[in-house]
């Protein structure tokens, strides 16, 4: 009987995990979307249409600040009733503005109520299509910005669903498993011409990714932080919530620092790497030519290495992790100021008994040309260019 895992009982697709993630992201999208529609898009549509509503004079009948008490403190809204006439007919309205949700902050609402004492006459706006529909404040109010915060959930849900459906990490069935043959390698290897390599991930793309993560994370945290600060201003400090939020705030700050660090790296000298052939078998020699764009005088040390590494991806709970282990580092060039030049070339030999590039859904052997620049008092640069080491022909 076969030992270990038999292909007849090989790894199963983690359908349960995918269903859970789909449900999770779908819920984010649905709830975030529903909230955005009710508290932002719908009021916004009414604000836009109310721009054409005619103005009339309303007389305030009653006004007060309505308090809604919750576990995390109180929220408030303006309660007002007013009368107005349209075509000789009297109407009573009770809408102050189109966004109806309560929010924290008592002072602002109290000031509005103070200005709308019973008997006060104030302009209001009436829907010409339905005279019973009126509003006092028809513009965009500051609290609508907070209604945008749940957009974070919409983004997280949509991005999560997108990557779950179209992204990597799909479990492999036997029929869809990669068939690693030499045919593709041989054709590629035949094109032995100098090739300018593209960076594995551009600095700009990294910055965009970090910025999106920082915005989503900190946007979510800010929503809860705002509640804590509002409560503190009303002298009801939420100790437990504050303690709970501290690690989330720290992570958010760390991501901001990373994004800032990446933004600084945009001004670093940029290496360009050309190889004599894009696909090279073990034992062959490769000529690596490089040039550096930008301020070379920033660099204290510049080096290029050919690096071979294993990359193993696995799941732990709902988290997908990739471990990396370098098994080969072959120096191409190392220059230290003031000997750093704007370009040059060197030859390296791929070890004869090493492993060729290999890519399966969860396990890889990757070869990269790694260009590193050391810059005093500034983020160092580290750019990778993918190289394909093909099997022997």
């Amino acid at each position: 009987m076969a030992q270990n895992v038999s292909i007849s009982s090989g790894p199963r697709a983690t359908v349960g995990g995918r269903v859970f993630l789909g449900f999770f992201f779908g819920l984010f999208l649905l709830l975030g979307g529903a909230f955005e529609y009710s508290f932002f898009l719908k009021p916004l549509a009414r604000i836009v249409s109310a721009r054409d509503w005619p103005s009339t004079t309303c007389e305030i009948i009653s006004s007060s600040v309505h308090e809604s008490r919750g576990d995390d403190g109180s929220t408030y809204r303006v309660n007002v009733t007013y009368r107005y006439d349209v075509d000789g007919r009297a109407y009573v309205g009770d809408r102050y503005k189109f966004i109806t949700a309560s929010s924290s902050g008592y002072g602002g609402k109290a000031a509005i109520v103070a200005a709308l004492r019973p008997g006060t006459r104030t302009p209001c706006y009436v829907n010409p299509a339905n005279p019973a529909d009126a509003v006092i404040e028809r513009g965009f109010t500051a609290d609508m910005w907070f209604a945008l915060i749940p957009m974070v959930f919409v983004i997280v849900g949509a991005v999560g669903l997108y990557f779950m459906i179209f992204g990597r990490g799909r479990s492999m069935s036997l029929s869809s498993a990669p068939n690693v043959t030499l045919s593709s390698y041989s054709k590629a290897a035949a094109r032995a011409m100098p090739t300018l390599l593209s960076p594995k991930q551009s600095r700009g793309a990294k910055l965009v990714l970090l910025t999106v993560i920082a915005l989503v994370w900190n946007g979510t945290v800010a929503f809860f932080l705002f509640q804590v600060v509002s409560a503190a201003r009303r002298a009801s400090f939420m100790w437990l919530t504050t303690l709970f939020l501290i690690p989330f705030v720290l992570v958010g700050l760390f991501v901001i620092v990373l994004a800032f660090h990446q933004a600084l790296m945009l001004s670093n000298p940029k290496p360009n790497v050309t190889v004599s052939k894009p696909n090279v078998p073990p034992g062959d020699e490769l000529e690596v030519t490089w040039s550096i764009d930008g301020r070379i005088d920033m660099l204290r040390r510049f080096s290029i290495d050919l690096e071979g590494r294993e990359e193993a991806t696995y799941r732990r709970g709902t988290t997908t992790t990739t471990d990396r282990e370098v098994f080969a580092t072959i120096g191409v060039v190392e220059q230290i100021t003031p000997a750093i030049r704007g370009g040059g070339s060197a030859r390296v030999t791929i070890p004869a008994t090493t492993m060729h590039s290999f890519e399966a859904p969860n396990n890889k052997v990757v070869w990269v040309i790694r260009a590193r620049g050391e810059i005093p008092n500034w983020p160092d640069s580290d750019d990778e260019f993918l190289l394909t080491v093909v099997p022997h022909r």
Binding site: M1, S303, A312, F358
Partner: protein, 131 residues
Amino acid sequence: MSTGTLTVAPTDAGTARRPGEVIELSAEWSLATPPRTLEARLFWFTRGKGTQDVNVVETQPVASLESSGKRRVRFKLPEAPYSFSGRLISLIWAVELVADDGASARWEFTLSPDGKEILLDRRMASAPRAR
């Protein structure tokens, strides 16, 4: 799973195989109930820290509705991937004899230009850099 025995082994000794080589194996089985299908599969799989990847390269039918027998099967080995072993990943080649009820037997071998498994578990010496 039915009771009985399944074996698969090369007709010549040794596990070192080279890309493009043809391997010949002897498949033998003796099962309590005749299998509807009995097939030999040439495949590779990974072992190690990463989630397992498996790829069946070729499948050959061996027999049908015979409770026992002996057959020879031949596979032409592909050029890649080579057998290797690192700190995180190992890639293993094998031929498996599988009955439809799940009973199976396996023979593992190494595929590389010199027939030896490529070892990645050591740092390769760095060549001197140009200056």
